[in-house]
């Protein structure tokens, strides 16, 4: 069964450093999403991406964040200058259409020191 994969599973970084979280969505899906879950809190939407551009973003997704689909398979989330409060589990998801079932990857746990 096709699945969404994410690398790395755990990333530790120093405050102010740049990080890139990588995702490989399900191959025939067209809509891609990033969510995050701060420890003990609910899963929150960050950004959706379709047709090589951001289609929607939340207020969390400020100028420090960017997303890219550098090739036909990868979907990345970059945090330019990490802050302590960026520590969270980041989930990538993909779907075949807006409103269709989103399939989630296993997540990347980001720890900012």
């Amino acid at each position: 069964e096709p699945e969404v994969t994410q690398t790395p599973s755990h990333q530790v970084t120093q405050m102010g450093q740049e990080v890139i979280l990588r995702c490989v969505p399900i191959s025939n899906h067209l809509y891609f999403y990033w969510y995050r879950q701060i420890l003990g809190q609910k899963v929150e939407f960050l950004v959706s991406f379709y047709n090589n551009e951001i289609s929607e973003k939340s207020e969390i997704f400020d100028d420090q964040f960017s997303v890219e689909r550098p090739d036909g398979s990868n979907f990345t989330l970059k945090i330019r200058s990490t802050k302590l409060e960026d520590s969270a589990m980041y989930f990538c998801a993909s779907s075949s259409g807006p409103g269709d079932t989103q399939y989630f990857g296993p997540g990347t746990r980001l720890t900012v020191l």
Binding site: Y31, Y33, Q41, V43, F45, G99, T101, F104
Partner: protein, 116 residues
């Protein structure tokens, strides 16, 4: 604005007992509703979904959920809980206004513990 409420933060049931996890949503039209499960250290796995049609939907692992428009609810049920069901359960609704591309709005989750 759309929202999802899971009123129970933590529930403990005995193995073999029945389970019902509550979920209430706020949305004017018929929503697209989902239940996901997250085992410790794992990602989110889809249990079941409701888009339209039969209001009782069956999912994986013996779970089912019933959509009740009159109560704005989408409660998750299982007749007999197994120890492996211990996890956190999230109810979610697709955001569908303002030109949204369908991002999910999650509830805060209900943590399920199972007693032997």
């Amino acid at each position: 604005a759309q929202s999802v409420t899971q009123p129970d933060i933590h529930i403990t049931v005995s193995e073999g007992a029945s389970l019902e996890l509550r979920c209430n949503y706020s949305y004017g039209a018929t929503p697209y509703l989902f239940w996901y499960v997250q085992s410790p250290g794992q990602g989110l796995q889809l249990l079941l979904k409701y888009f339209s049609g039969d209001t009782l939907v069956q999912g994986i692992k013996g779970f089912e959920a019933e959509f009740k428009r009159s109560q704005s609810s989408f409660n998750l049920r299982k007749p007999s809980v197994h120890w492996s069901d211990a996890a956190e359960y999230f109810c979610a609704v697709v955001r569908s206004y303002g030109g949204s591309q369908g991002n999910l709005i999650f509830g805060k989750g209900t943590k399920l513990s199972v007693k032997p």
